[in-house]
């Protein structure tokens, strides 16, 4: 009889666990998170289908959606930091070899900003580049883009855009 209750308890735990969303996912659901694209019916499109990437860190979560339009990499970058509000901004840039150098335009804590971002292709995903930056007319740019360091621990892994 004791075993019966134990099995019942175990089964209940499994059912509850299998039907509940992880905490992070619930948070994400409450915010703006991309669903899937609704394609263009227009003609002569030079836009390639979007690809989506995601990074999960201890303190932040990043979702990147990228398309190539007329040779320009364009997309949306959604950053969710545990300490701050989620911000969503747009990104436009060019592939320089295997590195995407682009301008990320966003608003965080009431301040509008533009900063350069560098994302290096690694396998199917990207890794983010870091380096010294300076402010040029209000825009944060890399002082020396060729000396960027890429953080292999921050992988933007390719994920399906449609979930």
């Amino acid at each position: 009889m004791k075993s019966y209750f134990f099995y019942l308890f175990a089964l209940s735990c499994i059912i509850i666990a299998c039907n509940s969303k992880p905490a992070e996912q619930s948070n994400a659901d409450a915010k703006a998170t991309p669903t899937d694209e609704v394609k263009n019916e227009n003609t002569s499109s030079q836009a390639k289908e979007a690809a989506c990437y995601r990074y999960f860190g201890k303190n932040d979560t990043i979702y990147l959606q990228l398309s190539e339009v007329y040779g320009t990499m364009t997309g949306m970058l959604l950053v969710k930091n545990n300490q701050k509000d989620q911000n969503v901004g747009t990104l436009q840039g060019k592939m320089m070899g295997d590195v995407l150098i682009g301008d990320y335009s966003f608003k965080s804590e009431g301040t509008m900003s533009v900063r350069q971002v560098a994302l290096k292709k690694q396998g199917d995903g990207f890794i983010e580049g870091y380096g010294d930056v300076s402010e040029v007319n209000g825009k944060m740019v890399f002082k020396n883009p060729s000396a960027l360091k890429f953080d292999e621990s921050r992988v933007y892994a390719k994920v399906p855009c449609k979930q």
């Binding site: 134990f6 299998c18 994400a28 499109s45 320009t72």
Partner: protein, 169 residues
């Protein structure tokens, strides 16, 4: 005791196998396919009306389609920082005095619904502007932006535009 230990291990493994992988974090499923299609159609319709409006009524008609709120910002071609709504208003008013007509057409447009009142779009647009002397130029731009649904329809909330090609006629 051993049996209890095995039960515990079994539960632990079962819970572990049931929990969703981290890579599953994002969406969402909060929008149905029908809702996504509706949002996309509404956003496209907004752009159709927007471009028809500025073609017919001039550049200042653009104000009907920009989100007049502190959340608005846009990174316009050549700028190093985004402009506010007040700056956009000033720029549009200045340009309205220079140009006789403006004709915008999407060559490609992708719309990605985010929430019931928020969507991301990106695409390639061709913009032909004619000044008051009759000289016209065509610009090919790539534009990415976020649109928000207000009580009076979808509005451009923030984004950026990059000029890819400029041709004088």
């Amino acid at each position: 005791m051993n049996r209890q230990y095995l039960y515990s291990l079994f539960i632990f493994l079962a819970l572990l196998s049931c929990s969703k992988p981290a890579s599953n974090l994002t969406p969402s499923g909060e929008l149905s396919d029908t809702e996504k299609t509706t949002i996309s159609e509404e956003v496209r319709e907004m752009f159709t009306n927007y471009y028809a409006d500025i073609k017919k009524n001039g550049m200042t008609a653009e104000f009907n389609y920009l989100d007049h709120s502190p959340s608005f910002y846009w990174l316009v071609p050549g700028a190093t920082r985004p402009i506010t709504y007040a700056e956009a208003e000033q720029g549009v008013n200045q340009q309205a005095q220079l140009y006789a007509s403006i004709d915008n057409k999407w060559k490609s447009l992708y719309v990605y619904p985010l929430k019931s009142d928020l969507a991301f779009y990106t695409g390639e647009m061709e913009s032909t502007v004619t000044d008051k002397s009759g000289n016209s130029s065509t610009y090919t731009v790539v534009e990415s932006g976020i649109v928000i649904k207000r009580l009076d329809g979808w509005k451009l909330l923030n984004g950026q535009t990059t000029t890819i090609k400029a041709e004088a006629h």
